[in-house]
Symmetry: C2
Subunit: 342 residues, 2 copies
């Protein structure tokens, strides 16, 4: 068996099952956006790590060093937000090829600093080493949750309402634009910029997560969308052996994405369903809460939060069109590290 057959998630579950040491202080181990730890007497802590590899996650032609620094911090913060946590302390490892100038690193840290300041994350240490060829970046981030309130991937039940923050697919289209020759697609510079920005400078939804953690809503599951809506929804469904109906007209697609897609004949809906790197939050709420507490208090958040469907006992994801036609989404679409886009 080789890696491409086993895949990223196959590899992870393979090792998870072989772990030799387990600690009673681990509330949630491998398999969620963060680990949940009970070291504190009171609150839980959440711990996550994310690696960014040149040519795999970024390209020095498409990302400025500042953007790369921001993104390094932002993608990890998004994982902390997805657990309902507040990011706190980060350690950074850099594997730096000798070809990288000091000025590049200055600018990288500038971007990292911007995100660290905005989201109140203290960079407290790291490891700086040489790398033979490619730039390798790794951040580990420790956060904490409000009392023992933590949102995991598991916990959704049939009937729970599915929500997402912001809009989906912009980042994926932004990446497509960045990777294509300048003249391949039509559309104004302003339009391009808006989409590209969503890819280069993701804004983790810490505030929405914090608001939900403080609210009376029972968040039954949450994940951040890094691999694409359907694939990440797949993780929530797999955890509970569930399915979902997604309402096609309600999938939040931004005006720039719609415009650009129309001009260039691109599949806007597909980008929104499976694009990846949105760093929006996908979560489920108990239906009673939505009825009793009112959906308005959620949907008027900034960025807006949209109900996009409902959890079902029947497995699989079905997309319900405006006219009520149901179409099964064959399998989660998204990114597999050892296969490329599936």
């Amino acid at each position: 068996m080789d890696l491409s057959q086993l895949g990223e998630f196959g590899l992870i579950s393979r090792f998870q099952s072989r772990l030799k040491y387990r600690s009673p202080q681990v509330i949630q181990g491998i398999g969620d956006d963060c680990a949940v730890l009970s070291l504190n007497n009171g609150n839980y802590q959440v711990l996550t790590t994310d690696a960014l590899v040149e040519t795999v996650h970024f390209n020095l032609k498409t990302h400025t060093p500042e953007q790369l620094g921001w993104k390094t911090m932002a993608v990890n913060i998004s994982d902390i937000a997805a657990m309902g946590g507040q990011p706190k302390f980060a350690v950074l490892s850099l594997g730096i090829p000798s070809s990288v100038p000091v000025n590049f690193l200055d600018r990288f840290y500038k971007g990292l600093n911007q995100a660290s300041q905005k989201y109140k994350v203290a960079l407290v240490g790291g490891d700086t080493v040489a790398s033979p060829k490619h730039l390798f970046i790794n951040l580990a981030l420790l956060g904490e949750t409000l009392k023992k309130k933590v949102f995991t991937r598991s916990g959704a039940r049939p009937g729970d309402k599915i929500f997402v923050t912001g809009t989906l697919g912009d980042s994926a289209l932004g990446l497509k634009i960045l990777e294509s020759p300048r003249k391949k697609w039509k559309g104004s510079e302003a339009l391009r910029k808006k989409l590209v920005q969503r890819h280069l400078k993701p804004e983790p939804r810490v505030e929405v997560a914090a608001w939900l953690a403080k609210s009376k809503f029972r968040v039954t599951s949450m994940i951040d969308i890094s691999d694409g809506l359907t694939q990440d929804l797949g993780h929530i469904l797999k955890a509970g052996k569930l399915g979902a109906e997604l309402w096609e007209p309600d999938i939040p697609i931004s005006k720039p994405l719609i415009k650009y897609s129309i001009i260039n004949g691109l599949p806007a809906l597909e980008l929104a369903l499976s694009g990846g790197e949105d760093y929006e939050l996908l979560f489920t709420l108990a239906p009673d809460d939505v009825t009793n507490l009112g959906i308005e208090s959620i949907t008027k958040a900034d960025p807006p939060v949209t109900q996009i469907g409902v959890i079902t006992a029947k497995k699989g994801i079905r997309l319900i069109s405006k006219t009520g036609r149901s179409k099964a989404l064959q399998r989660p679409m998204g990114f597999n590290h050892f296969k490329g886009k599936t």
Copy 2:
């Protein structure tokens, strides 16, 4: 200015001075073996990260996958030990080239698991990504200290006694042996194995650190020896603007190292002073404690602990020979990531 001029430590201090967000919960930030965090009501937490890059830190010809897995965990545990902490939770990032077989990863995790079991570290998460060419490993490790007792690099004073655990230089010679053609040097297979093992399977000194943390000794400073005795002692001295006398006859050198050096005409003392990757603990104790509590209770530890010198107000490191001759060690010798061995 390029990276080789600035160097690893120059780069670190450059960014440390530019940090935009500082948290009052950070007791010790960048610049020690671990960050020290005050999230808990009671105890401190310690957080560290270490990256291992193929061709820079290891070579797949000299390390088995099991050894690499062990080492990944061990070098981080050593950093936690150097703060007087107990390692607790780890997150692992792997950048894996497509050429790496699943069997390699199975064996890597086996070694990691062995260390995790021995030192009671729970692997709670990570990130598994593709890498274009070289294997990249990063571990971040969270630990905690006994109450608020934490050992840092700063705190040593003139007159403090300097101690090290175990013996020094074996790992450096082990690496030399691994990297040389089989027939280059003489010596029995058993001798070779002992030295090579010290390089391939370092044993972090968590128990000695824990014993010291519980003892009545005031540990005024501590660091783990990863870059070589003189360079790591240099960090302690720099923190307090101090110097040190090292007693040449007391530098602990193992029998295998002495034997192998004699047979092959290698500089045993130099290896012990600047070898690197010993993962022994270097620490200083208040002189009164050593007098009052008795040196025997320390030195009879397992592995043995040896007093090797004394902290001085006069800067620089001087090596005092058996006959009392003093020789200045010009500058810290050790490893600089962007220059190679200095």
